[in-house]
């Protein structure tokens, strides 16, 4: 009886879709062939690749899933730029953390671990109009990557903040990374502006939600943006803080429409319904990052291949390999 059951189950499994032969179509093989060349080419034979990580509070932990897929595929990433949570994840990635370490750090995030968002502090914020401190963000980043300056990062990195007096986007590319990341993830209305380099800095998501410009400043010629925007149609704010976050997000998203067009390729994990305080949903956010990136990976490779052809082609002519 057991043998019969195993045979029947095997027959059922044999009909499953995933047990397919390798894809040997012309497109799949040509992509594989050219991707091998792009991936192994010296940096001067392909565009400099910028990974852009958007703002998005806890939704931004989905970037970890996106990075996982890119790393597994050997996707070249030359520079990294991030805003707000994108700055936190980006700093850790550019600082040299492995994918496993990124997962560990993301899964350990609690709403009061990186920020001063304990219940007592929130009551203080609401009753006494006393803004909170984002110092814990800085401490977390410092503890994770050490007291690195921008020039000590494994990959060139930039993050974006906003000067609350002038409304300017401030792109950090030098100095202490942890302080800059704190300034980048410093939600206005909740955290006190950070005074740094004679400026009063709040979260960069307000003015530079998808910091393609920061990646370009680092020399990126081709950019892949991981975007973790809110889904306003699905989320009804339940509190003052939710409302504030939503308004900031909507504003940031409107401003980011142009940045979406500037990015060469977008990956958008379906995390729009994950709220600012829903740290229990971080594993879901990371998984959605993996799923979105896996679905879009072939397209990203194709886009980078096409952008690389002008630099690859000269070596193919006249007896070159």
């Amino acid at each position: 009886m057991t043998r019969r059951l195993v045979l029947a189950l095997s027959a059922l499994l044999a009909a499953l879709p995933a047990a397919a032969a390798p894809d040997l179509s012309a497109d799949a093989l040509l992509r594989d062939h050219l991707w091998r060349e792009v991936r192994t080419a010296s940096p001067d034979r392909r565009p400099k690749v910028g990974l852009v990580l958007s703002a998005g509070s806890l939704r931004g932990t989905a970037h970890v899933g996106v990075i996982t897929v890119l790393e597994n595929a050997g996707f070249p990433v030359d520079v990294v730029a991030g805003t707000s949570m994108g700055a936190v994840v980006g700093a850790m990635y550019a600082g040299g953390l492995t994918v496993n370490q990124l997962w560990e750090n993301a899964l350990a995030v609690k709403i009061d671990s990186g920020n001063d968002l304990s219940a007592r502090r929130l009551i203080s914020l609401v009753l006494f109009d006393s803004l909170l401190s984002s110092e814990k963000t800085e401490l977390t980043v410092r503890k994770t990557i050490g007291g690195k300056t921008f020039d000590q990062m494994k990959k060139p990195f930039a993050c974006v903040s906003m000067d609350v007096y002038t409304g300017e986007a401030i792109i950090f590319r030098d100095g202490d990374v942890a302080t800059a990341v704190r300034a980048s993830m410093n939600l206005p209305g909740i955290f006190a502006p950070l005074e740094y380099r004679h400026r009063y800095l709040v979260d960069g998501g307000v003015v530079d939600y998808i910091p393609v410009d920061a990646a370009r400043l680092l020399g990126a010629e081709w950019t892949l943006a991981s975007v973790t925007e809110n889904d306003y149609t699905a989320v009804r704010p339940k509190s003052v803080l939710d409302s504030l976050e939503q308004v900031i997000d909507i504003r940031g998203s409107f401003l980011s429409r142009e940045q979406r067009k500037q990015a060469n390729y977008l990956i958008e994990p379906a995390v729009g319904t994950i709220g600012m305080f829903e740290d229990a949903r971080i594993p879901e956010a990371i998984e959605k990052g993996v799923i979105a990136a896996a679905r879009r990976l072939d397209g990203a490779e194709q886009s980078l291949i096409l952008a690389s052809l002008p630099k690859l082609a000269p070596a193919w002519q006249g007896g070159a390999k």
């Binding site: 499994l13 032969a21 390798p22 093989l29 062939h33 060349e37 002008p310």
Partner: protein, 313 residues
């Protein structure tokens, strides 16, 4: 003590069975014979609701399995799912029913419903090979390659004579760029099924990833000898190009074009061979022949257009 057992049996007969094991009257055995003879219609005719009402224990459980299996064999997957669902409702801890329902849902593309059932199955039987195989395939489809590889490893511990399972595992390892391990997995697959063209093709990719082009080309030739389709010839043309043999690559591409006229990858190889000779006009001529048709060559056409523009600058 006896009084307690009687009280238990009266209060909850289904649970009381478990104290003594599930009973069977062997009533379902003749139907099982029909199923083994490949007669699903006869099985369904025999398993009437009235007959099923007379069954209990293992007979009842087996009846739902036979119903599901027969409906599935007749291509009535939705009814098969319903049969297994009923079976699972009555026997929630039966791994066979759980896995059958999950496999069917997975096959129908309903992975979100299949995954929790597979997980329930491995919670009961942690090393259930088919459940791990199902989870491996779901995780692979979603992009969770590490998890997929881990599930394949557990599945292979139970199903190590399944050649196609070794190949699926190797494909995940190739995606994870664990080429040496993929190579070993494919050799296990080939030991079980020496005449598998798919295994030879995959092994060619694993060897090429380790810069063993001679070995990779040997495997592609073996695959072609075993009846692999035009895809293996196409791969051979591209691998020869990568190995720095543009003239041989061009000849291999010509072979592909005989079987698949207008093939985007083959024309690309011809163009690259022409470029290597310094013949830009011929290269442009080849590239201009690459057309996207009916969902084929879409990327090849884009790449050909981009390279043509570059060459004509």
């Amino acid at each position: 003590m006896r009084a307690l057992l009687i009280a238990l049996a009266l209060a909850s007969p289904a649970r009381a069975w478990r104290l003594f094991g599930e009973p069977s009257d062997g009533k379902v055995r003749p139907v099982q014979v029909l199923n083994d003879q490949g007669k699903p219609r006869e099985v369904l005719a025999a398993l009437t609701p009235q007959f099923i009402q007379t069954l209990r224990g293992t007979d009842l459980r087996q009846a739902y399995i036979l119903l599901g299996d027969s409906h599935d064999r007749l291509g009535r997957a939705d009814e098969a799912v319903s049969d297994y669902q009923l079976g699972v409702a009555l026997f929630p801890n039966n791994v066979d029913l759980l896995v059958r329902q999950a496999l069917l849902l997975h096959r129908e593309g309903l992975d979100e419903q299949a995954k929790p059932l597979f997980l329930r199955a491995i919670a009961i039987e942690p090393r259930h090979g088919n459940a791990h195989q199902g989870l491996a395939e779901i995780d692979r489809t979603l992009g969770f390659l590490d998890r997929s590889a881990t599930h394949y490893e557990v599945a292979l511990a139970a199903l190590d004579t399944n050649a196609s399972l070794w190949r699926d595992y190797a494909e995940v390892l190739l995606s994870l760029r664990e080429f040496k391990t993929a190579d070993l997995a494919l050799r296990r697959s080939l030991a079980l099924e020496p005449k598998s063209p798919d295994a030879h093709v995959l092994l060619a990719f694993a060897r090429r990833a380790q810069d063993d082009y001679a070995g990779a080309l040997d495997d592609l030739d073996a695959a072609i000898g075993l009846g692999a389709g035009v895809g293996a010839r196409r791969a051979k043309a591209l691998f020869l190009l990568e190995a720095g043999k543009p003239e041989q690559a061009g000849a291999a591409a010509d072979e592909v074009l005989k079987e698949a006229p207008g093939d985007g990858a083959a024309l690309w190889v011809l163009a690259r061979a022409a470029l290597a000779r310094g013949d830009v006009d011929a290269a442009v001529g080849d590239l201009r022949q690459v057309k996207a048709v009916e969902g084929r060559n879409a990327f090849a056409a884009q790449a050909a257009k981009a390279l043509t523009a570059e060459l004509l600058k």
